[in-house]
C-alpha cells in the first residue's frame, strides 16, 4: 500500500464510510465545479473519478483530510490539468479550445450550488433522449458508475456507456449550454428534470423484468437523494416539494408493499405499522406546506396533487377510514390538469370506493381504446368485475393483466386473486 508506515493509520471501515459519504456529498460538486472550469463534461467526469480513486488509495494511510470536498476538488483539478497537458502535447488544437483552466482557488458555496444546478439542467436537457437524460443524470449528478446504471436498468454496460459517450459528444458539438435556464424557461425545464427523477424512482418502485427484484431500493433511494438536492437548490419551487413528498410517502410504504413470499400487497391490506413513520411525517409536512401555498392562491401542479392524494392515503391508521371523497376531489383536480387515461383510471379506483364498483366499471370501460395494452387497466377491471360477482369476465381480465404485467410481485398477486375466484 502506498504511504504505508507514515502518517496516522485510520481504521478501514471508518475510511470506507468517509469515502462513501464523500462520494454522496461531493461527487456532483466536484463534477460541476470542474465542468465550469474546463468547459467539458468528459474531462470533469474522468478527473472526478480519478480523484475518488486516489482517495481510496491514499486516505487509509495518510488519514482523512480535514476538508474532504476541498481535497477531492483540488485533486480532480490537478488530474484534469495533467490530462490537458498530455493532450496539448499530442494535439495543439486542444490548447486553443481549453486554455480556460485556473489554479483551483476555492469557490464560494453559492457558486458551487449554482454549478450543481447547471449540471442538473445540462444532463436533463430537452435535446437529449429521455433514456439518455436518465443515464447522464445518474452518472454525472448521482455518481453511479456505468455498470451500476446498466444493472439498474437491466441493460448491457456497453449500451449505457455508449449513450453517455454520445451524449457528452452532443453536448460539446451542439453546444448545449451549462447554465441555469432563464426565468421564462425555468418552469418547463424544472419539470423536465423532475420527469427524469420520477422515472428513476418509478423504475425502482415498480421494477419491470421477469428476473428483477420487485422493488429496487438503490434506484428509489438515488431518486430521493437527487430530488432532495434539487429541493435544496430550488427551495421555492412547489413542484419540487410535491415530487419529494410523493416519493417520500411512496418510499415509506416500500417494505409493507411486498409480502415475505414476494407478492404485491395492496394499500388496503398493508400493515400500516410497518410504514416508515419519519418518512411519512416528512412527506406530510411538505404536503401541508404546499396546501398552505395553494390556500394562498398558488395553483398546485401535478406532483403536488399526487402527493396530496398519497397524503390522504397515508393519513388514517386504518385503510377503511380513508377519505375517498377527498381522494376523488383531488383526482378531479388532476384530471383538469392532465386529462390522460391513466389518471382517469386511478380516479375510477377511488370512485369505486365512493360510489360502488358498477359506477367505476362504467368509467373504466370507457378507457378501453386508450389502455387495452396496459396491465393496470385489466387488473382494475378484474377487481371491479370480481366485486360485482361477474367471475367469468373477471377471470378473463385477470388473465389479460397477468399476461401484460412486468413486475414479479404484481404477477404473483394477480395470479392468486384469479385463482381465488369462484
Amino acid at each position: 500500500m502506498p504511504g504505508q508506515g507514515r502518517g496516522p493509520t485510520v481504521p478501514v471501515t471508518q475510511v470506507e464510510e468517509a469515502i462513501t459519504q464523500a462520494h454522496h456529498e461531493q461527487w456532483a460538486r466536484v463534477v460541476a465545479t470542474l465542468t465550469r472550469r474546463f468547459g467539458d463534461l468528459d474531462i470533469a467526469e474522468e478527473a472526478a473519478a480519478e480523484a475518488f480513486a486516489t482517495a481510496v488509495q491514499r486516505w487509509p494511510a495518510d488519514g482523512l483530510p480535514p476538508n474532504p470536498g476541498g481535497w477531492l476538488t483540488t485533486t480532480a483539478n490537478r488530474k484534469a490539468i495533467d490530462r490537458l497537458r498530455r493532450e496539448n502535447k499530442r494535439d495543439d488544437k486542444h490548447k486553443e479550445a481549453r486554455v480556460v483552466y485556473d489554479d483551483g482557488a476555492p469557490e464560494p458555496v453559492d457558486a458551487i450550488d449554482d454549478d450543481r444546478l447547471r449540471l442538473v439542467f445540462t444532463c436533463a436537457h430537452p435535446a437529449l433522449a429521455m433514456q439518455t437524460r436518465v443515464a447522464l443524470t445518474l452518472r454525472m449528478v448521482g455518481g453511479l458508475t456505468v455498470p451500476e446504471i446498466a444493472r439498474a436498468f437491466l441493460v448491457q454496460d456497453s449500451a449505457i456507456g455508449q449513450r453517455i459517450t454520445r451524449a457528452k459528444a452532443k453536448i460539446r458539438a451542439a453546444r448545449i449550454p451549462y447554465r441555469v435556464p432563464s426565468a421564462a424557461d425555468l418552469p418547463a425545464r424544472v419539470s423536465g428534470v423532475l420527469a427524469v427523477l420520477f422515472l428513476v424512482f418509478n423504475e425502482g418502485y415498480l421494477a419491470t423484468g421477469p428476473d428483477s427484484d420487485p422493488v429496487r431500493h438503490e434506484l428509489t433511494a438515488e431518486a430521493i437523494r437527487l430530488t432532495r438536492l434539487i429541493r435544496a437548490l430550488l427551495p421555492q419551487d412547489g413542484e419540487v416539494a410535491g415530487l419529494l413528498a410523493l416519493m417520500l410517502l411512496t418510499e415509506a410504504r416500500r417494505t409493507a408493499r411486498v409480502s415475505a413470499s414476494g407478492e404485491l400487497v395492496t394499500l388496503h391490506e398493508q400493515d400500516r405499522g410497518a410504514w416508515d413513520a419519519p418518512l411519512i411525517a416528512e412527506g406530510h409536512r411538505l404536503v401541508r406546506e404546499r396546501l398552505a401555498a395553494a390556500a394562498a392562491g398558488v395553483a398546485p401542479g401535478r406532483y403536488q396533487i399526487l402527493a396530496a392524494i398519497s397524503a390522504v392515503h397515508t393519513f388514517s391508521r386504518d385503510g377503511r377510514d380513508t377519505d375517498w371523497s377527498q381522494v376523488t376531489a383531488l383526482y378531479d383536480q388532476l384530471v383538469r390538469l392532465d386529462p390522460s387515461p391513466i389518471i382517469a383510471l386511478n380516479r375510477a379506483i377511488a370512485v369505486a370506493e365512493l360510489d360502488g364498483p358498477a359506477v367505476a366499471l362504467a368509467a373504466v370501460d370507457r378507457l378501453d381504446d386508450a389502455l387495452a395494452g396496459y396491465h393496470a387497466y385489466h387488473a382494475t377491471r378484474a377487481d371491479l368485475l370480481r366485486r360485482l360477482g361477474r367471475s367469468q369476465q373477471s377471470r378473463a381480465a385477470y388473465d389479460k393483466a397477468i399476461e401484460l404485467a412486468g413486475n414479479t410481485a404484481e404477477t404473483a398477486y394477480l395470479t392468486r386473486r384469479r385463482d381465488q375466484l369462484r
Binding site: P126, A174, R175, P177, P181
Partner: protein, 116 residues
Amino acid sequence: MQYLMSVFGPAEMSEFGTYPDQETMVKAMADTGAFNERLQAEGHFVYANGLASATTATVVDGRNDPPIFTDGPYLESKEYIGGFWIIEAGDLDQALTLAAEGSKACQGKVEVRPFQ
C-alpha cells in the same frame, strides 16, 4: 457557432408546394419572410433558401472514373429536405428557440444540426 436548420416536407408536392392549399401556402411564405427579416435584424442570419423537389436531385459517385450519375435523391424517403437556414447562435438553447419559431413560420418540422 453556426447551425444548419433543415426543413422537412412530403416528397409529393402539389401546385401549392408542400402545403395543402393556397391560403396556407401564402401565410407560411409571409411568416417565413418575416422570420428571415428578424434573423437578419438580430444578426442570426447566415443563409437561407428553398430547394426544388427531391425528384430533381442527381446522385454523383466520382470516387472512381468514370463518375456514376444516378437519378433521384440519395436516400429513398417519404419526406425530404425542402429548404434550410444556416444561422449563427450562441448555443443550442438559442438555436432551438429560433428553430421553433422557424418551424412555426414555415409550418414544417425543422432539424437542427451544429457545424463542426
